[in-house]
Chain length 353, copies 2
Amino acid sequence: MSLTQITLDDVDDLAAGCGVLGTGGGGHTYAGALMTRQALQDFGPVALVDVDDLPEDGLIMPIGTIGAPTVGLEKLPSGTEAQKLRAVIEERLGQPVVAVMSIEIGGSNGVEPVAFAAELGLPLLDADAMGRAFPEVPMVSMNVAGVPPGLLLMCDSHGNVATFEPVDAVWGERLERATAVAMGGSAIEVGWLMTPAQARGAIIEGTVSQAVEIGRAIRAGEGIAGAISLLEGKVVDVDRRTAGGFARGAVTLEGTGDDAGRLLRIEIQNENLVAFEDGRVVAVVPDLISLVDETGHAVPTELLRFGQRVTAIAMPCDPLWRTPRGLQVAGPAAFGYPDIVYTPVEETRAGRA
Amino acid sequence: MSLTQITLDDVDDLAAGCGVLGTGGGGHTYAGALMTRQALQDFGPVALVDVDDLPEDGLIMPIGTIGAPTVGLEKLPSGTEAQKLRAVIEERLGQPVVAVMSIEIGGSNGVEPVAFAAELGLPLLDADAMGRAFPEVPMVSMNVAGVPPGLLLMCDSHGNVATFEPVDAVWGERLERATAVAMGGSAIEVGWLMTPAQARGAIIEGTVSQAVEIGRAIRAGEGIAGAISLLEGKVVDVDRRTAGGFARGAVTLEGTGDDAGRLLRIEIQNENLVAFEDGRVVAVVPDLISLVDETGHAVPTELLRFGQRVTAIAMPCDPLWRTPRGLQVAGPAAFGYPDIVYTPVEETRAGRA
């Protein structure tokens, strides 16, 4: 946790860690890592800071890609979006942007903000708003903390800029999603701009360091701290479509080795939402469900294919998501599973053992 | 043409004239006229002005409803949209709004701006950007004149505000249309904000007066100047659906009286686009095609029904639309009819006679 900057040497570890925290979503880290490596070569290392390191009158800019990862895999940003958005923000709000923050640490959305920070000459906050990846605009810690979305901004690779002042976060999601689809299925978004005072208690701190640490553990062939194995097996069915601005579907794994004869079905909305075995929920949002290959690296939803050898793992979510308000924002009911009562994955597995 | 203000006594004539100029679209005038009558009762008459009457450093605010008229028929504005939009404009652009202008004089979009002007305490410009109604954002005289869209704004009845800085008018249409659908199918829009200097030569002047004049002629039982009868008959088929933010479809009329034995098929995208008889084009955009009932009042697309007695009339469009650039922006090809060569309706009919 002693990281004070992100250098070229950290990119692969960060990407690997973000992959696992992405729970299938947040965008494949391949292109984001390439982009970030280039930006660090061009502009040098990015300072990794805490909220207390920032001037109190400046704005933290939470940034990420919105859209379907199935689209984002092929449709890359132009590289000028972050500059455009920063300029619009500073003109609109009359305050300087003093730090970049990942909206979600999961997937490429945990990696690309390093590139944006490098390009903008700004530090990166060692924090995000999810501690994982979630598919929808309202599913952020700021919303759990009761902070309204404020000004939402989007910029696409053509240079089109859209801004929204929605009456609430749900309307923010509707408007941004429709615009993301109109922009071609993927765009850069900023929202919940905050001063350090507003950010305290409303963000999840230390998650950039955590992602690098997970990546280092993967590289060292060590297990991921806190991860629970759900099933080791192979992909026997992938149902995946891009619909309404999301990647939706399900993947079925058939157990191999000690898990032979077992089937695990995971339902997906950009991220892995619920894992079912014999009709029983074995893990569910907001807990993390990831599929990792034999090297320990995560396989994002958009790259799942028949026959792949993967292990399904689950990890406890940040405690914030287990509060009543956290579950309201990103629990099973928020994803269309009103009948699933959330049980922490540690307890589900303990009950099984 | 000597109108200097719009009073309560003018609302019905304005609505009747806008109905005919709406060519089936622009929104049914019924609710807009009610809203306008209420606003004029509350705030008094609205001054009708020319560009030269306005201060040179102020902004003209072109305003209208965007969406499918089939939705707008049931989904009414809240009445606070114009105030919200004006506030955002003045904050963003740092210039005062000095006049309201109809984006399109056709349908309710020619009537409601009177209410907005009354509510805002501003004059109404005796002009619009179409001289009729068209379904898409780029189909405005400012675009023909080469003026870029600038800042586009939308506000819905919930109070959500969206703004766009698109790279061109076509992107403006894509982004606004998607947002209109997300906002429930209908919303208030503003775009192409202009100073008087920018407006000169880029708008169609005198169209509010013209609409009132047409309404007076209808009330007096006189014919509409310049109107050509295409067919007198009844509706024998209506194919109408709300798709992608538009009302689309076709209506077929069967001739009665002297026109017995003839069939006219009119294809629709919010507005009446093309009238075919025996596979031959008898009138086509940008010329105006309207259906009027026995009282001379227009029947908008969303109210067409089997068995209705109507007369299909056509009117020449503003000369602006007959220029090469005008036809590029709103000629047959812009509506997906690349094989129809535009012929002015006077010539089509003359060739027939």
